[in-house]
Symmetry: C2
Subunit: 422 residues, 2 copies
């Protein structure tokens, strides 16, 4: 363990010393997590995939697991599989995810539905629990589906949706202080901003919400699997997140939700479905919800998708959050170093925090020709970043699948594309 820590620290220390592609290769050779790259399906040779924060790569084991679930469980055992493990999956995968990556003790996390639907369920539950209050606080820079869901809930209930100005700087309790008050029912924010990657002060803002008697709901879509979250320790009430980014769950994979144990049985979600029912198969006349997190299930869980999420979560759990974070920091620092050396002169601007500790696992670079450059990177240079309006190239650094040479190559190809000669 000590050797491991040293190795990580060494990689980290080398970052400032990378002056060539060979140096980047050396970092890959010393990278404790490099072996995980072999556990993912490799796309076409030469492709530099830096969009793992939007759709994570395919774990090789997911192919076999999906096949097993489809052929051996569904095809062979058919309906009997519900009693042979399927019914337990949402909580089982949730517990694995919660304990390994979210800092959540078992019995508080479920994998279910989409992030949008989970956010709706939890935000509505929070509003019901604070029915005498009239304000929802979020950020104007919040991910669209979160803002839209909250706008819908506010409109339906005649509440105020208070949107704090969002920028590239990390959200702090101090910045929110004047926006959260004793009429605030719930504060809903992303732990890591989907554009800038700025890390909000999860513990501090949670404490601020609590000082005013409000509930705190975090969206972890851009943080889980890439950096420590610590839900239990921070006293977080509610959280949601998607599993198709750093968790490598696949396109449209089922999302997750967290309900702090202390709230279970007290909060009640609005979609009263049969999978949230106690004694579900008695099919009784009256809705009598599970007393635990199971109540937050709604319909029949998507078994194939859930099983694939399990595979991705298992890989991240094996790597462990400290190593994931250490590598993400190193990758990000290398990218920012190269940006400063090569891209600043070409008109790029860092749209993420400069301080690595304040940044999640992606880096946003703005450029007036951002969209064009992104399209050319994909079409001509075999580099796949993401693009976010109006002018940002977003480079996702997934610690299990991104290498230091990936970062070198991406920045190198980008500067060539952006040079005036082009």
């Amino acid at each position: 363990m000590l050797a491991l820590k040293l190795a990580v620290r060494n990689v980290w220390r080398w970052v400032g010393m990378v002056h060539s592609r060979a140096d980047a290769s050396e970092m890959d050779a010393a990278d404790e997590l490099a072996r995980f790259r072999d556990q993912f399906h490799r796309p076409e040779p030469g492709l530099v995939y830096l969009d793992g924060n939007s759709l994570g790569m395919l774990p090789a084991a997911a192919v076999a697991r999906a096949h097993e679930v489809i052929v051996a469980q569904w095809g062979q055992r058919l309906i009997r599989s519900w009693d042979e493990g399927w019914l337990d999956l949402p909580g089982q995968v949730g517990d694995r995810l919660g304990t390994a990556l979210l800092g959540a003790a078992p019995g508080q996390v479920l994998v279910s539905d989409s992030t949008t639907v989970n956010l709706y369920k939890l935000a509505a539950a929070a509003l019901d629990a604070r029915a005498d209050r009239s304000v929802i606080v979020t950020s104007a820079g919040e991910f669209p589906t979160d803002r839209y869901v909250l706008a819908g809930l506010a409109a339906a209930r005649g509440l105020e949706l208070r949107q704090v100005a969002g920028g590239p700087e990390p959200l702090t309790a101090a910045a929110l202080e004047s926006h959260v008050d004793d009429d605030t029912a719930v504060v809903v924010l992303s732990h890591v901003d989907y554009r800038s990657a700025a890390i909000a002060d999860l513990a501090g803002i949670t404490a601020l919400a609590h000082r005013h008697g409000a509930l705190m709901l975090w969206d972890l879509s851009h943080s889980a699997g890439a950096l420590p979250v610590g839900l239990d320790a921070a006293g977080v009430d509610l959280a949601v997140g998607c599993s198709y980014k750093y968790l490598n769950g696949g396109p449209g994979a089922p999302a997750y939700l967290y309900v702090r144990r202390a709230h279970q049985g007290l909060l009640r979600q609005p979609i009263w479905g049969w999978f949230g029912q106690r004694e579900q198969f008695t099919m009784g006349p009256v809705y009598d919800p599970e007393p635990d997190v199971g109540q937050f299930q709604a319909g029949t869980p998507p078994i194939v998708g859930l099983s694939i999420v399990d595979v991705g979560v298992a890989l991240l759990a094996e790597a462990g959050v400290p190593r994931l974070r250490a590598k993400a920091l190193a990758l990000g620092s290398l990218l920012v170093d190269l940006y400063e050396e090569w891209l600043v002169p070409l008109g790029f601007r860092l749209a993420s925090p400069r301080d690595a500790a304040a940044r999640g696992s992606h880096v946003a670079l703005a450029h007036p020709d951002g969209r064009l450059l992104r399209d050319r990177l994909v079409a001509r240079a075999q580099v796949v970043p993401d693009f976010r309006m109006p002018d940002q190239l977003r480079f996702g650094l997934a610690p299990l699948t991104t290498s230091f040479t990936d970062v070198w190559d991406a920045m190198d190809r980008l500067r060539r594309l952006a040079e005036p000669a082009h």
Copy 2:
């Protein structure tokens, strides 16, 4: 086509003449749909699977399709696949399903979320559109998740949930006449009852709701893929259904919803998600929903699940509703004939309509030892039916995968188990 019709009619005419297993085999030999059995994965030899109305069997082509989506689309093309077909899938599979099996012209059906979540979205939209009314009408015998969802909506809005007594007889407009009035916002019913298989009068009840200015929402989970539905022709407003039964979409497969074209742009669902947003990737500040059925999407669609549903729907579409229904009728009639000959003397009671025309594609048989007999059928006789409280064995006859010898064998093994000697 004429030959085909004759063949179906012939099978149908033979039913009363089946006096041996050999006769049943002859019917299989004459069955126009028998060839479809080879297009499904076969579980262990000897298994008689009569639970396809709970979890349909695995289409062999689904294995290859899932592999293609997982490896070639996700694994190879990664994020680029969203623009290479994924974004269109919910509507595309919905259109295929709608036109082939629901009697719905394109642009009205989406495959998304679970049945529970879809029912919540559509029922809430209907209630918002009739905000001056205070009653939801459903049946006390309605499938649990439907009743629970409606109870939740009624509780949240202070509405009356009026539950008409449900029995094994088909629901008619006449029976509902005294329960639906001008204060009724929406009527929510299953087209085919999940226990008795009684077919409700879809057109008549829809017309009744409309006479009172109410909206009509049908749950098609037990009818789509097994009998004609005819949503457009009957003037149905809204519908939902699951895809893991007769549609062979797999465990927890994404469900579907139907919104009549005339209502699109007027009805608005409560979960304002980014996949329902016009110009979704502009990620603008204000929720501005799609003017069409696309608005009823919420979060990111589950691509692997959607693709598998597509495979199942394609098989049913190829068979065609008339042939599916003709075979389902023949299978059901054989089962009821054998029940009358063998099982009535052993204390069984038909818990489905006696009239084949009034019955969907499953048959429920009640017996005081129903649960025990079901368990023994599974454990000792390789027959898998379903069980529904308190005493019903439910035999699902999926026209693509159930054979006449399956029906013969199931009834034959059941009578042996139920005979006093046992």
